[in-house]
Symmetry: none
Subunit: 242 residues, 2 copies
């Protein structure tokens, strides 16, 4: 049982993907598959609009058809790479062309990956994940979430309801442990073991003090206490009212 239902990252925010494709048939196919994989998909069928959307509502990744009416895919790609705001958005190109020179041109223009039609939706998903793994580690698991608390372990930053939270090293480790096992109750002894270390000898009551500091940092004016005290058992992370 255990963390099972709430593995790290499972509550992470959905990666937002913009699909630019004029063939409605294919667009639907892609949308359906990405939807099912837990992506937040939006779609448009025109190069001009793609540029606008990319700029004002920056997606995490763009799936771009090479053959578009009006502005071609290659032009969209070039434009995206030119502007600072969209420079780093990963792009996966979708195309009917199988010519090698086209593929190379696509990659050299700034695309991150390339797939030729007909393509396998599952492979598209796999490639999207491979690209996101590189560019947005935060989207793929370095992030711990519970209720309105978010911890980025690579940045060592913690927020509650979008407000930045300052923690000392021990409070950070303590919270991480709770976030890795949300809801579960830990005795002081267990906490000392897993947060402090097997071989460290400190008073059990020391845990209380750190719990207090963690609470103080987490529960600012008006916010509900998110750490539950279980009398004669220990402490747990718990967002429900108690």
């Amino acid at each position: 049982m255990e963390a099972a239902t709430l593995t790290p990252g499972s509550t992470a925010i959905k990666p937002r993907i913009l699909v630019v494709e004029d063939d409605m048939h294919i667009a639907e196919l892609v949308r359906y598959n990405l939807d099912r994989e837990g992506f937040d998909v939006s779609h448009c069928d025109d190069g001009e609009e793609a540029l606008l959307r990319a700029e004002e509502d920056t997606p995490d990744l763009i799936v771009l058809d090479w053959m578009l009416p009006h502005v071609s895919g290659i032009e969209v790609c070039r434009q995206l790479r030119r502007r600072a705001g969209t420079l780093t958005i990963p792009i996966i190109v979708l195309t009917a062309r199988t010519e090698e020179s086209d593929r190379i041109r696509g990659l050299e223009t700034g695309a991150d990956d390339y797939m030729t039609k007909p393509f396998s939706p599952r492979e598209l998903v796999a490639r999207i994940n491979a690209v996101l793994r590189r560019t947005r580690p935060a989207l793929t698991g370095a992030m711990l979430n519970y209720a309105d608390i978010a911890m980025d372990t690579t940045t060592h930053k913690v927020t509650r309801a979008d407000r930045q939270v300052r923690l000392g090293p021990t409070e950070f480790r303590l919270l991480r442990h709770f976030l890795e096992h949300p809801g579960r109750v830990f005795s002081r002894e267990q906490l000392l073991d897993s947060v402090w270390g097997h071989d460290v000898y400190v008073e059990q009551r020391t845990v209380d003090v750190h719990i207090r500091r963690l609470r103080k940092a987490l529960n600012q004016k008006g916010e509900a206490d998110i750490i539950r005290t279980v009398r004669s058992a220990g402490y747990a992370l718990d967002a429900s009212v108690h």
Copy 2:
């Protein structure tokens, strides 16, 4: 024209590529083409050795054959992803298999890209550049930017808010490393590994001194400190107020 990214005569470092391929014929073909594009190619024909080499002489990218004697490519890939030192090395898989399920398995195991034989050497080069552009922009001679800091890796010039910044060699490499992974926290040990090199033995505290020198050069009168100290964890580049 291409390798492009690596302007002739530029001072940029050659990206180091490890090719793991047991078919000597293909290995030679790949080596020849990568060589010509300005990569620093090394080669081995065995999975075991690939793992050793990757660890002790970390390449910037690995081109990995899926079918190897003894240890299979997929196993090598998995092992590389398991160890901290090799976790982030980009991998492009090379294979004769065209089965979709194999392709997907490759990407899900941690490969960054995938090419089926027979393949075009030029496309391989294009894909390598596309991956490197993401993972090690500095190697492709690109400009590194973060907040109001700009680094031109080909001219070795650094500016903050348009003011020229003077850096020693070590501070330059340190800043480059931070710029390649903005926001991320690195321990002193990690920094020694990636900025100084695996085999160099220096005191961890030495990092502090260079951080201080970097800060002094970067944060002149009144400017906010852009390097964040994360107590008992390390340092990070961070423009937000902290």
